[in-house]
Amino acid sequence: MTAVPTRALPVPGTPRRAGNTVIALAILVVLLFPLYWMLNIALQPGESLAATRWLPTSAGWDNFQRALSSQGGSLVTSLVVAVGAVVVCLALAAPAAYALAQFGMRSGRAIVFATLITQMVPGIVIANALYSAYVDLGLVNSTLGLILADASLGLPFSIVLLRAFMVSIPREVVEAALVDGANRFTAFVRIVLPMSRNALINAGLFTFLFAWSDFMFALTLNTTDDVKPITLSMYEYIGAHVSDWGAVMATAVVSAVPAAILLVVAQKYVAAGITGGSVK
């Protein structure tokens, strides 16, 4: 019944089960305390920082207003970059995954191998080489440059995830469309993509989150303030305003919002995504 068998028989509704729920909630409280504390400080008006109260009894939005007025632009930048990265990533990953899943290409091993290689390459090594290439191509300090770099964070993962799903699409469905006069490409767009909607959402969500969380490319591929995502903006903010913890924490809360939304809206995809992307 349980992974670790215990002496008690698993009778439904025994106190033992309630005990487990209590333990689980205790674990939750301990592990999520840092995030609670972030919210707590963000909600407290920053008059006395030495004595942060345990509860935001006199909650206010001052910190958020200060954070938004100085970081609003960065939030928009992050949003644009992350959405762009999702578009680029899915546009590349979906056809590739489809071909690998359905055309009988014996490339399963190659894919797993390639994903492994990409995980092996440290981001800073990519940034090191990319920076000089970007200088030559005029992509430094550009939104497009950042979008292209950030798309790389989700691409291998997306290919693996989409391929795993597309393997299960019956070939007859596509072949029937081909008989009806569609070519491979229209069959892909009209039949395969709609059928893969959930897998595409899953891959897209993760790519969005990876790009939104990206700090390294934001830090290394930008030398001016023209393109400054929220992660970079916050990093610079703690350098300059380390005493204004209220505003820093408010920014942190706002930057964590996509993660929270993902968890609430797409809860069932998240665990599947982590395991699916972990390349067994």
Binding site: V4, T6, P95, V125, P194, M234
Partner: protein, 319 residues
């Protein structure tokens, strides 16, 4: 709307198999490549090119002027010598290994404990498991910033708590003492990594057939005995995956350390990743940065090979 299109397609129709002359087949191959080529080229540009380019760069002389003059002459082994003679390199390598193995140990043990615990059936189990993913989903820089506040020597809540509980008599300089900072960074990274370990190990536990546990229980095996002789051996492939993936993602961590300590105090949290960043993007010596980067790739590659060997049997099975 789109779904009606799919369901309207008659599934069991006999596709006319065109007898394939060579030209037809070549066209088909070409078409296949049209689907794969964009992704393949992109991967080459963003993963293959940097790998090769860094090897070349490690033999080139870069200075802050390089980006005006465009000149980066080859200088043989100068960069390599420069890096290996720099005492900070050995230190960073050492810190990287401590940080990586410390993080892995903590993440794995706690992740496994949670995975085992949540395999029991009880109310809210699924909900709590889902919410516990948050630390892993939040951007690493955000986590680092939050922990900077939690670990602050004067105003941090961790010290307040420890002192209120009389566990320590004075405030611990988590991030400001060279003796403690690396440990603090590990602590934060363990916190970040627990969900990843938990989720994958939980998945592995679910795949172990239940009747094996019933058999073990009938044989009178206790909880610990069952865990050691049944759960752990059957979980082994998943454990390998978690540890190797964990290794590869931990060894290269940059954002966490940059935002938490910036490599300090007194270089006590400097790792190969932060050293690469410092050499390349702060001292603008991209050649020496590339050397450290290559070492980092090499360390990662050694473990990737171990991974491949360990998983040779079920390689390429997808999910």
């Amino acid at each position: 709307m789109t779904t009606t299109v799919t369901t309207a397609v008659p599934a069991p129709s006999a596709p006319a198999k065109p007898a394939g002359p060579a030209r037809e087949r070549r066209r088909a191959t070409l078409l296949r490549w049209c689907f794969v080529a964009p992704a393949a080229l992109y991967m080459l540009a963003f993963f293959g090119y940097p790998l090769v380019r860094n090897i070349l760069m490690s033999f080139q002389h870069y200075t802050p002027q390089t980006y005006f003059t465009g000149e980066s002459p080859f200088n043989g082994l100068d960069n390599w010598r420069g890096v290996f003679d720099n005492p900070l390199f050995a230190q960073s390598l050492w810190h990287t290994l401590i940080f990586t193995f410390g993080s892995l140990l903590g993440q794995f043990v706690l992740g496994l404990a949670l995975a085992v615990f949540f395999s029991r059936r009880f109310r809210l189990s699924g909900f709590v498991r889902a919410v516990l993913l948050l630390p892993w989903l939040v951007p690493m820089v955000v986590s680092a910033v939050v922990w900077r506040k939690l670990l602050d020597q004067e105003t941090g809540v961790l010290n307040t708590l420890l002192m209120d509980l009389h566990l320590t008599s004075s405030a611990i300089p988590w991030l400001s003492s060279p003796n403690v900072a690396l440990f603090a960074a590990i602590l934060v990274n363990v916190w970040i990594g627990i969900p990843f370990n938990m989720v994958i190990l939980y998945g592995g536990l679910q795949e172990i057939p239940r009747d094996l546990y019933e058999a073990a229980a009938l044989d009178g095996a206790g909880a610990w005995r069952t865990f050691r002789s049944l759960t752990l051996p059957l979980l082994r492939p998943v454990v390998t995956v978690v540890l190797i993936l964990g290794f590869m993602s931990t060894v290269k961590i940059l954002d966490l350390i940059l935002a938490l300590t910036g490599g300090g105090p007194a270089d006590s949290t400097q790792t190969l990743g932060t050293l690469t960043y410092q050499l390349s993007f702060q001292q603008l010596d991209f050649g020496q940065g590339a050397v450290v980067g290559n070492v980092l790739v090499l360390v990662s590659a050694v473990f990737a090979v171990l991974y491949l060997r360990a998983n040779r049997s079920d390689f390429g099975q997808g999910k």
